[in-house]
């Protein structure tokens, strides 16, 4: 006897955001990336359409990053050259986007000037054809200056700029509006703050389809369950037509996963935890694959081996030939 399936008919869908601009669109990208647009819970093809598959943005920093050797070794000698590094991510590892972190701007570190940062952005734009996500150094005051310069330097490129937060969203939003970019709106694992921030940004005049939600995440083993549930709730909210939750979500997977001891401690130190080569890669991989199930659209990733695994996981899940 045939079973009557339970198919949800949601009144709405996740909003679409377009990143990057080709020459016809006023930019210099060779391709654009569209995220969001789905009217279903993640990958349940029987009740809707996966319009745009989730994408991976690979992390590139403007100074040599303090990452573990197992990750750094995979990049060879490009880590002091953001443009070459970005090329490698795209050409060799198949990154959909580049996630450029301008940590060199940190006043307590290299304290690079906004002009220097803008120059790095231009170099990376020249080196690759994919769209860019650009964030600052997480020093609010400095980031306001840096991102204003970046927004201007990247005018026309339809960048995704971050981070806009509840107590510091105005200047980045203004910069995005003037130069026609998108912003990442970050809230600390809180649905209400998330909505509130989207409202504030929108009230300044930035359209909703230029906002991407960063719900904040914890990595695997370190609070990922909070992120998982907040994201499931946000996705359900978007599908139920809550416009202030309807933006695609971006997750700082590489950063959070690789902060943990489990992603870094050798088997000699922790024989009970098994081989680091497997464990470290899977720590980042599962942070990503679990959050895909909660509705992530853009994964910010670091380890090329993990990227490869997640690319295959995504390919398996968007394969719509079959359903239930």
């Amino acid at each position: 006897m045939p079973v009557t399936l339970v198919k949800e008919r949601f009144p709405s869908k996740v909003g679409e955001v377009i990143l990057g601009a080709t020459s016809e669109q006023g930019g210099t990208r060779t391709s654009t990336v569209v995220v969001g647009g789905d009217n279903l819970l993640p990958f349940l093809h029987f009740e809707g359409k996966v319009v745009n598959r989730p994408v991976i943005a690979m992390e590139v920093t403007d100074i040599v990053p303090p990452w573990n050797e197992a990750i750094k070794a995979q990049f060879g000698d490009v880590l002091d050259n953001p443009a070459a590094w970005a090329q490698k991510c795209v050409n060799e590892f198949g990154a959909d986007l580049i996630y450029l972190k301008l940590i060199g701007a940190d006043p307590e570190g290299f304290n690079r000037s906004p002009e220097d940062c803008a120059r790095v952005v231009k170099e990376v734009l020249a080196a690759v054809g994919v769209p860019l996500v650009v964030v600052g150094c997480e020093n609010a005051e400095k980031d306001n200056e840096v991102l204003a310069a970046v927004a201007e330097a990247g005018a026309g490129e339809n960048l995704l700029l971050g981070l806009a937060e509840q107590d510091n969203y105005k200047s980045i939003t203004a910069a995005a509006m003037v130069h026609k970019h998108n912003v990442i709106a970050r809230s600390p694992l809180d649905i209400n703050i998330c909505k509130q921030l989207n409202i504030l940004i929108n009230e300044m005049g930035l359209p909703l389809n230029r906002i991407v939600i960063d719900p904040m995440i914890g990595g695997l083993g370190f609070g990922i369950e909070y992120a998982y549930s907040i994201m499931e709730r946000a996705r359900l909210g978007a599908l139920a037509n809550d416009k202030m939750l309807s933006m695609p979500m971006i997750c700082t997977v590489g950063y959070e996963a690789n902060r943990s001891k489990e992603a870094n401690a050798s088997a000699e130190e922790f024989p009970g935890w098994g081989d680091l080569a497997q464990r470290g890669v899977l720590w980042e991989t599962l942070t990503a694959t679990a959050l895909l199930q909660a509705g992530a659209s853009i994964l910010l990733m670091r380890n090329p081996e993990a990227v490869k695994l997640v690319q295959r996981n995504i390919a398996d899940l968007v394969d719509a030939e079959v359903g239930a």
């Binding site: 339970v6 819970l41 990958f43 549930s229 870094n264 088997a267 899977l282 239930a324």
Partner: protein, 443 residues
């Protein structure tokens, strides 16, 4: 599970005789709905009514127990934020009966060793699935015996051949293994064997429609200890099936699908396989059978399972009292942290690794992390000063230096003032504690 008073009332005799201890049938029904009292207090309730109430009040997904404490099913929600997920996905690693006995024992021992300690929790692989691939019932029985003799873990005996299951199961029935597979062609014999030995059994069919037919036929044999396998071996299909089975059971209370579900991975590369399995851990598998059998593969997956099955209402906490690590003495350093178990054990692990006997005082922050607590006003200097005082640590050490987390460096001045202790700002991440502690003791 949640029957209303009125639904129960409809099934009662409506004599209003009061013999149940409440004056009317309706009052009795209301009491039952509120979980007070037992149906047996009414002497007049009919057998039919008793059955109807029992099945209507049964949980939407049956609880199936097997092996060494493994519990499958008995879930009540689709999203963990709706309440919680209760019974963590049972993880089984497979072995083949085509291995010779020596290799089999080696492999079983390796699987036995898939146990982990992290952040104060202990987790491990739950069971071993013995696959019949030899085509030889005698060999299968022997292999099962060898595995059973060398492990305390739960067992799954898996064969499509009734004769193999008949040969292997009786000798290990006392260990209450899960049996499989009962399928279209053999279900009568396999279910009969399971029933005779009182073991739960996997019903396997290709797709949900076929599974539905099979469950109904199998139930008609008068047995209900089932675990379902919808047969799919492609991730996207398995995800769809797992979701439908869970939705039908919970949203529609569809009885034929009110059983736990087992998922099988399709990938052979262990890293890909673990990534695939992570889908089923988040989305509704009661059990997963894996090929990967090394620690570096299993720890990430079991950590994800622990996270997803954590009760969202209650962060895991430690006692907010003075803890000591190692053979403490008056020179021992004093660290303060929070009583969120994840935070506490991240710190404790590193303090232990520093090999310097130390005190750790977790402040009661309702089980929140350092910055969450700080942002929520639960990590105030006054509170920490009080906790230091009440802990009695001042009588145990000959110094007045306290180390605080680097993330809350801003409170150091105030804390020093309030407590009279000299405040030392530690590193931000606990991973910095070992070198920090060494420099402290050398300096």
């Amino acid at each position: 599970m949640g029957l209303t008073g009125l639904e129960i009332y409809k099934q009662l005799p409506k004599k209003n005789c009061g013999e149940c201890g409440t004056p009317t049938c309706l009052a009795f029904a209301m009491a039952l709905a509120a979980g007070k009292g037992a149906l047996d207090s009414c002497p007049y309730v009919s057998d039919a009514a008793r059955d109807a109430l029992a099945s209507a009040s049964a949980p939407p997904i049956k609880s199936i127990k097997f092996g060494n404490g493994s519990v499958l099913g008995d879930e009540t929600v689709l999203f963990r934020h709706d309440k919680t997920f209760y019974h963590p996905t049972t993880v089984l690693v497979q072995v083949s009966d085509t291995l010779n006995d020596t290799d089999l024992v080696a492999k079983v021992e390796q699987i036995n060793d898939l146990e982990f300690d992290r952040v104060g929790l202990h987790y491990g692989v739950d069971g071993i699935a013995v696959l019949e691939e030899s085509g030889d019932p005698t060999r299968f029985a022997q292999a099962v015996k060898v595995v059973a003799d060398h492990t305390e873990k739960s067992l799954l005996l898996l064969s499509d051949n009734v004769a193999a299951l008949q040969a292997a199961a009786p000798a290990v029935a006392a260990k209450k293994p899960l049996l499989g597979n009962a399928a279209e062609g053999n279900y009568e014999a396999v279910v009969a064997l399971a029933k005779e030995l009182a073991l739960p059994v996997i019903l396997k069919a290709n797709g949900l429609d076929a599974l539905n037919d099979l469950v109904e036929k199998a139930q008609a044999l008068g047995y209900k200890e089932f675990v379902l396998d919808p047969g799919s071996r492609k991730p996207v299909e398995t995800l769809a099936n797992l979701t439908q089975l869970r939705r039908l059971a919970i949203k529609k209370k569809y009885r034929p699908f009110g059983y736990p579900v087992v998922a099988f991975t399709s990938k052979n590369e262990p890293m890909d396989e673990i990534a695939e399995a992570s889908i089923y851990v988040t989305k509704y598998a009661s059990a997963i059978v894996l090929k990967a059998d090394e620690k570096g593969f299993l720890l990430p997956l079991l950590t994800l399972r622990a996270n997803i099955y954590t009760d969202p209402q209650k962060p895991i906490q430690v006692e907010p009292t003075l803890h000591s690590v190692g053979d403490v003495n008056p020179e021992s350093p004093v660290y303060v942290t929070t009583n969120f178990s994840l935070t506490y054990y991240s710190v404790e692990g590193e303090v232990e690794a520093s090999k310097i006997p130390s005190y750790i005082l977790p402040i009661d922050t309702d089980g929140t992390s350092v910055l969450t607590a700080y942002a929520a006003g639960k990590y105030e200097p006054e509170k920490i000063a009080d906790a230091l005082l009440n802990s009695g640590v001042a009588d145990k050490v000959g110094h007045k230096n306290v180390i605080i987390p680097g993330y809350v460096a801003v409170i150091s001045g105030k804390l020093q003032e309030k407590s009279g202790w000299k405040v030392i700002v530690g590193p931000r991440e606990s991973s910095g504690i070992v070198s920090f502690a060494r420099s402290l003791s050398n300096g």
